[in-house]
């Protein structure tokens, strides 16, 4: 197969011309905005819960909170059909390789919501020897939700935030979305069980220890 160049040149219509046209009754759009509009309204999450946050996730998908309003009610049991991974709960070190592998098996474009204190940092179990201190050490997280557990409204807010994020993604140029860049990886290294901890303990490409600034 011939090597194709995915460096597209997409001409962007001038904003002034667009509003001029819409005044005279001509509606213009771009392929990019149609594409993003379609994607953001049909995000299919992976049916995957790890701990008590999953109960809130289930509640969010049920009639009272109704995730279906955002087009995200189709929880898929297979990573091959999912766009979004909601890491709902404590990620133990035993479970972390499986979570990363599931993420790797999802097709691009894919997004991650880290739901709850445990998924973003380890939460109340942070001091535990067997708890991963945040899933963002291994996979790129798009939206973090604090809370223990976050209420379904918080998950809905994360959804809306993700939709806004998807809506802003561009197809070309240096700031294009990750899945349009052939050089960006789609799979991330799966950690293995070492003698004392997961090896590697983090993906340095994704996560760096926060710099603590102390006053002198």
């Amino acid at each position: 197969m011939a090597q194709r160049s995915f460096d597209l040149e997409v001409t962007v219509i001038d904003e002034g011309l667009r509003s001029e046209l819409s005044k005279s009754g001509i509606f213009t759009t771009t392929l990019e905005s149609i594409y993003n509009w379609g994607r953001k309204n049909s995000v299919w999450p992976l049916q995957f819960g790890l701990a008590c946050c999953a109960i809130e996730m289930i509640a969010a998908s049920m009639a009272r909170f109704d995730l279906a309003r955002f087009g995200a009610e189709v929880f898929r049991p297979s990573p091959r059909q999912a766009d979004l991974m909601i890491v709902a709960g404590t990620v133990t070190k035993k479970m972390a390789p499986q979570v990363v592998r599931l993420y790797n098996q999802m097709p691009e474009p894919k997004y991650v919501i880290a739901m709850g204190a445990c998924a973003i940092s380890g939460g109340p179990f942070k001091q535990g020897y067997n708890v991963l201190k945040g899933i963002d050490r291994y996979i790129p997280v798009d939206v973090h939700i604090p809370g223990c557990p976050p209420r379904p409204e918080a998950l809905l807010h994360a959804f809306i935030t993700l939709q806004q994020k998807i809506d802003k993604q561009v197809m070309s140029g240096p700031n294009r979305a990750r899945h349009f860049d052939p050089d960006e990886p789609s799979e991330f290294p799966v950690p293995e069980f070492g003698e004392r901890d997961l090896v590697p303990a983090k993906n340095p490409r994704l996560w760096r220890p926060p710099v603590v600034l102390r006053e002198a």
Binding site: F6, P97, R101, L102, Q105, F180, D181, P182, S186, V190
Partner: protein, 125 residues
């Protein structure tokens, strides 16, 4: 004027629409991935098993041949019942030949039961 349209024409139109409904998104997504989205295959993504765990061993496992005992017992107690019900319903109207044939069939199955019993299949260990 003769009304000479075929009622099956609607069926043809429906089949065409159904095919279009199924195939158009597939063709569109294929074109999209061909022109815009770089393919990113990988070891995990191409794996056959998709539950997060790595598959171990071979898919071509062998079942224990001991399962033939379950097959025989199933035949005796389950399949026999299916034949016994119509036999009981039509019992008074049957000819002697049919009665004899049914008895031979039952005897064959009873023989299997006796054989399994003597082999100790029915005792719980």
């Amino acid at each position: 004027m003769a009304n000479d349209y075929s009622p099956n024409l609607f069926l043809a139109v429906f089949v065409f629409l159904a095919l279009g409904f199924a195939l158009t998104p597939l063709i569109l997504s294929n074109l999209w991935s061909r022109f815009f989205s770089p393919a990113k295959p990988g070891q995990d993504k191409n794996a056959v098993y998709e539950c997060g765990l790595e598959s171990k061993g071979d898919a071509w496992i062998q079942f224990r041949s001991d399962y033939y005992l379950y097959a025989i017992i199933f035949l005796i107690f389950d399949v026999e019942t299916i034949f016994l019900f119509p036999f009981a319903t039509a019992f008074l109207d049957l000819s002697f030949g049919a009665f004899l044939a049914m008895m031979v069939f039952l005897l064959l199955l009873v023989e299997g039961l006796v054989w399994a019993w003597r082999k100790g299949v029915l005792t719980w260990r």
